[in-house]
Symmetry: C2
Subunit: 307 residues, 2 copies
């Protein structure tokens, strides 16, 4: 079982409007709701690849109920181990402009987590980790969760000998890296914020020095740059993808974990991650991917040694 942790789950709402103009009133022509949060997307992709997945984190309020009901009807073996909390799960609103195709994002901060709720989560996590073959820690922290939360969760997984991947940003990433996670998967902005360097290879090296076992930087159309104990590679899709990039990074995380569990060598894990990521851009929603495109892309991703 792969354990994905999403402390700040979300009800992802997508609105279509003809043209978004500040200060105007807009009629929303289409409303789509989906369970969201990075770890939820990762879980959905892993389940679609045939892995057993358990999802933990927090869910609360009417939005949390909607999220859990939708998760229950998701195809694939995703076990819901979310903890109920008194606050309400946040909403994210993606407003798609039909004229330009642009998306404008509005993200609620998330529920206030009480110290008692955080304590209950730590107990739940401690109980789940020994049964996991890998752990993914994904996304932002809701208010009330200590900023060193991920460092704590990384240490628990390492003590249990379970490989742990961390995908977050800002101070939670900085603290988490110092606890020596097996893999981190920052994007270019997150990597620059962590290291102060906008040069990906230099920044990736710096991130490894800070404690990460492997650093896999997701660089958009330039694919992945990976510095690992086995070597360093660039994995690049055959052509830039056009579509909805939301969730592409989450699919890369799912690919890395899937390849780890299948005991693939690093270059093949990267191929899987890049192919999934590109196939997700072709799909309209985060956490979904175009399976035909994925299978075709597996043969088309190029991996070269990074120098």
């Amino acid at each position: 079982m792969i354990l994905t942790v999403t402390l700040n789950t979300a009800l992802d709402i997508t609105y279509r409007v003809r043209s978004l103009r500040p200060h105007a009133s807009h009629r929303v022509s289409e409303v789509v709701e989906r369970p969201g949060g990075k770890g939820v997307n990762v879980a959905r992709v892993l389940a679609a690849l045939g892995h057993e997945v358990t999802l933990t984190g927090f869910a609360g309020g009417p939005t949390g109920e909607v999220l859990r009901e939708a998760l229950a009807s998701t195809p694939g073996p995703v076990v819901d181990a979310l903890l109920p909390v008194s606050g309400a799960t946040r909403r994210t609103i993606a407003v798609v402009d039909e004229l330009t195709g642009d998306t404008t994002q509005l993200n609620e901060p998330g529920p206030q987590i009480t110290p008692a709720e955080w304590g209950t989560f730590l107990d739940r996590y401690d109980a789940l980790v020994p049964g996991a073959s890998a752990v993914a820690l994904c996304g932002s922290l809701p208010p009330g969760v200590p900023v060193g939360a991920y460092a704590n969760l990384v240490r628990t997984a390492r003590s249990a000998g379970v490989p742990v991947l961390l995908d977050t940003s800002g101070e939670p990433l900085r603290r988490g890296v110092a606890a020596r996670p097996d893999i981190i998967k920052p994007n270019a902005d997150e990597l620059a914020e962590l290291t102060g360097s906008h040069e990906p290879l230099r920044a990736t090296q710096d991130a490894r020095r800070r404690g990460a076992g492997a650093v896999v930087a997701s660089l958009g159309a330039q694919g992945l740059l990976a510095l690992t104990p086995e070597g360093r590679w660039r994995a690049v899709p055959p052509a830039p993808e056009y579509g909805n990039p939301t969730g592409a990074g989450d699919s890369a995380v799912a690919g890395l974990l899937s390849g780890l569990l299948d005991q693939l060598p690093w270059p093949d894990r990267l191929i899987r991650a890049v192919a999934l990521s590109a196939a997700t851009v072709r799909s309209p929603a985060a956490g979904d991917f175009d399976r035909a495109a994925y299978e075709k892309l597996l043969a088309q991703v190029s991996v070269t040694t990074a120098i």
Copy 2:
């Protein structure tokens, strides 16, 4: 009891962001949720004025539950006679830009109402109308409700001898007016759409000819222009109000009904409507008004014969 009808109730959500920019990602710093829809705002103001109010229309899904729970905790005697429906009550999102103070509005269309649900509503309405001293029909129609719905509801009220006010727009207004409601309260845009004329006095005369007993046009800072069987007046606040105009028109509707029930002559009804409307602009939320400002404004609104 005053009966207010809100077929397309809403969960009104207000987001504060630092500065809304299309195609960017925004962290929402504050989230406020309130029961909404024009007839809900009217009911809240009437209740605050001491009138007994019954609220009917549709509510469904998780958003409908949140709306009904919030209504139950609203101070004042608002009786919830909303009908449950299979679809979910719509959300409206008002995004307040902290830099400019501007508001950008995103309105979901509302739940699909089935023919059976509409039939059940008509039975409920027929049962409620004879016990009402006035009826207010407010706002847009959710999908599935026939475009002639308000005409139908106006006729039922008139047959029962209960005064009926209609506050809607577009084709539902055009059809509703032909059924001869006692009062309509269009704003300048709605009046122009109904009559084809942008000249308020001419348009108001035309709207009366189409069937409305009285036409009270709300003209923003220029106050109200009323053409009634008793005479024609302009009622103007002492100075333009600065604040949040959302719900000002709904408060004017509440003022007109309140004055009707208190058997005030038309000029005094208009004073009440303008004072409530202006006091609502000073209040941060639709359906609320600044009571001290309201009482002061009652002595300051000027009413003159419209020529």
